[in-house]
């Protein structure tokens, strides 16, 4: 094997051939590491080099890549993140899904930056990694178990200090939005990566690592870390707001401004918002906050349902879940939402897609396009008990759960009403209406994995006023801002650092961290260039996969049906005013195709 000379990265990946049952170490490609960092960028580079864009997501030819970043597992800021990359069964686009916790760091401590799964195991299996020893073992006894049960069993039989990522029954059942759950409660949630894992008969990855991460310049790294700690603690969002109330604090904010999607985007204010708000959660089921490894923010919500009509404990709900299983379904029962969140974690499902798919089913029922007999129960907006029941049925693919497991687009299409799916590229919207917040609408339309808020979180400038306040209804300059947010996010997702740090730290801090950790030189300019390179690489893959620019759009409801209520009543998404400028900013053709010139500049051809 050739040598990997840089620090920061472990310099090693594990290739697991599930068909052959072999595990092989490889040296990480050093040039690619410098150009794509790790996580989302480097994982996608390997994926696009090794997998044809037209691959069937559930075929043995599709690969599944778990990728940490060069900063994952260091004490920098909030550095417990990793990404999972594959081709999505839900969207047909590149899939890359982020999660944090302790598992990503343990992978680094075992000496690996990345694990590439290829082929398909003959029978249910899981991967054990104990430092430099890796092996596939049988998982027949784990198949059918929840993520919690799976983790407990592996801890008992493999190593009590192991960190685990696994799928639940939803992944086994190829639910198109199945997630991979790590550390019991953390989800690499979106785009159905858990179903790809299930299609490979891979139940879990268990890692025990006792090494560390080598840093090129420990003194400079310490300075960078102390600088970031100070900024994160002094910032009112990362230092106080997120630890105290977590992401659910946004329920009241977004409802007040009139952009909280309600009843499948038929309304944008929710009468029950206060009952499902972060403030309500803090005064009822919240036990404490929790962070990923080394995190100074601690946005996680540790909750328990004692005293409610449900039982159980776990983590969540986050803001997105309070929207998807709450306002989107017209449900104002916080205990029911929390219970449904637990079920999602145990079955391994994306809370956003299942919630919005149930909301879509509720509208189908409201319009008489699906019958009570077909659903197996009466269904209407606001029915909390039905919502909880349907979440479980989706995980099991039982009864109407078979339809829900398709995701909202295919489900609505099967009832002759695809326009009732609130999605882009078949990925359902998160919790902000793009009619009232124009930049987030542009980001949804152009995101490389469909309607995703964390591909370019325009909510930050348009609603929260960070780093400066933009008018959410204006379209001017939104193309420029969206591109900057998308590119910078791609770099952050590739570093191993949490996106939430970016409320307090920016490209200069990331450049300092990466330079000190790796020994390679990074500047503010290279940070943004790496992000742009990654974004274009993903775009090129999607084009080859047949996801053409005509899909850079929004549902008819957002483009043509004005918001029906609240302070933003009358607004529609003005995508046509922003998209041409966006293509121009990206250096793409007027049809939305990356030009050879731009790809050459970015080193992509």
């Amino acid at each position: 094997m050739s040598r990997f000379s840089l620090k920061g990265w472990s310099g090693k990946l594990l290739r697991v051939d599930l068909t052959a049952g072999t595990c092989t170490d490889e040296v990480l490609n050093e040039q690619w590491a410098k150009e794509y960092l790790g996580g989302r960028g480097l994982g996608t580079k390997y994926f696009t080099e090794e997998v044809a864009a037209d691959v069937d997501p559930f075929s043995a030819e599709n690969k599944l890549i778990l990728a940490a970043g060069p900063l994952t597992g260091t004490y920098g800021a909030a550095n417990g993140r990793y990404m999972v990359i594959t081709k999505s069964p839900l969207t047909g686009t590149i899939a890359s899904s982020n999660s944090g916790g302790y598992f990503p760091c343990e992978l680094r401590y075992a000496g690996y930056d990345m694990v590439i799964f290829e082929g398909k195991a003959e029978y249910p299996s899981y991967l054990q990694i104990h430092n430099d020893k890796a092996q596939l073992v049988g998982a027949v006894h784990l198949w059918g178990k929840s993520t919690k049960e799976t983790e407990d069993q592996i801890l008992a039989e493999f190593h009590g200090d192991a960190k685990i990522a696994c799928i639940g029954q939803a992944g086994e059942n190829l639910v198109s939005f199945a997630a991979i759950i790590n550390d019991k409660h953390r989800a690499a949630g979106r785009t159905g990566i858990g179903a790809v894992m299930g299609s490979k008969n891979l139940k879990a990855i268990a890692v025990r690592g006792t090494g560390g991460v080598k840093i090129a310049d420990p003194v400079a790294y310490r300075e960078a870390a102390l600088d970031s700690y100070a900024l994160l603690k002094a910032n009112p969002v990362s230092g106080e707001g997120l630890p105290a109330l977590g992401t659910p604090v946004l329920v009241n904010v977004i409802n007040q401004m009139g952009a909280l999607p309600t009843n499948n985007f038929q309304k944008d204010t929710f009468d029950g918002a206060e009952a499902i708000s972060g403030e309500a959660l803090a005064s009822t089921y919240l036990k404490r906050n929790k962070g990923c490894m080394g995190c100074v923010i601690g946005c996680g919500r540790v909750t328990g349902l004692a005293g409610s009509r449900f039982d159980g404990d776990g983590e969540g709900p986050e803001y997105e879940t309070l929207f998807s299983l709450g306002s989107a379904c017209g449900v104002d029962d916080l205990a029911a939402i929390t219970k449904a969140n637990y079920i999602c974690n145990e079955y391994g499902m994306d809370t956003i897609t299942i919630g919005t798919t149930i909301a879509c089913a509720m509208e189908l029922a409201e319009k008489g396009l699906v019958t009570e007999e077909e659903i197996g129960m009466p269904l209407s907006f606001g029915d909390a008990d039905a919502m909880v029941k349907l979440v479980e049925m989706a995980g099991k693919r039982e009864g109407f759960g078979e339809k829900l497991a398709m995701g909202s687009y295919r489900m609505a299409e099967s009832f002759g009403a695809p326009e009732l799916s609130m999605s882009v590229k078949k990925l359902e919207f998160p919790a902000y209406d793009g009619r009232g917040i124009q930049g987030i609408g542009l980001n949804y339309a152009t995101s490389n994995r469909g309607a995703c808020h964390v591909r370019g979180y325009m909510i930050s400038p348009e609603v929260l006023g960070l780093p400066e306040k933009l008018d959410p209804q204006a379209t001017e300059d939104k193309a420029v801002w969206t591109k900057i947010f998308q590119d910078f996010t791609a770099t952050v997702d590739s570093s191993g650092v949490c996106l939430f740090t970016t409320f307090a730290i920016g490209a200069p801090q990331f450049a300092n961290f990466l330079t000190a950790a790796t020994g390679a030189e990074f500047t503010e300019a290279t940070i943004m260039e790496i992000g742009e390179r990654i974004y274009n690489m993903e775009r090129v893959f999607n084009l080859k996969a047949g996801v053409d620019p005509s899909q850079d759009t929004l549902p008819k409801r957002l483009l043509e049906e004005p918001i029906s209520d609240g302070p933003l009543k009358g607004e529609v998404a003005k995508l046509g005013e922003m998209l041409p400028e966006y293509y121009q900013e990206r250096g793409w053709s007027t049809e939305g195709i990356p030009t050879d010139e731009r790809l050459q500049t970015l080193g992509l051809v």
């Binding site: 106080e240 707001g241 007040q256 972060g278 986050e318």
Partner: protein, 93 residues
């Protein structure tokens, strides 16, 4: 009356969700906030405003569900029956 709604850390700090005050003639948001602080024993304005009295980056103040940043900022007029919502900096995902 003017209804003031408290959210997030301010609600936790003050242990109350809202307060109603009588309207004053020609009053703006900045003046209302100062009057509010004089009326409430627990200091809370530092969660919203910096030492210069300007909104901290990320603070959201709404009058009748519209962000004052896009109105007349702290000089936005408030009158009888207005609803003022106070959100200290927060974020989600």
């Amino acid at each position: 009356m003017i209804k003031v709604q408290f959210y997030s850390l301010i609600r936790i700090l003050l242990k109350q969700e809202k307060l109603e005050l009588s309207a004053c003639e020609n009053e703006n948001v900045g003046q209302l906030l100062q009057r509010l602080q004089r009326q409430i024993a627990t200091p809370f304005l530092h969660k919203l405003l910096d030492k210069k009295g300007e909104p901290i980056l990320g603070t959201i103040i709404m009058v009748n569900r519209r962000n004052i940043h896009h109105l007349e900022k702290l000089e936005t007029p408030v009158a009888d029956s207005d609803v003022v919502a106070l959100f200290p900096p927060g974020a989600g995902g």
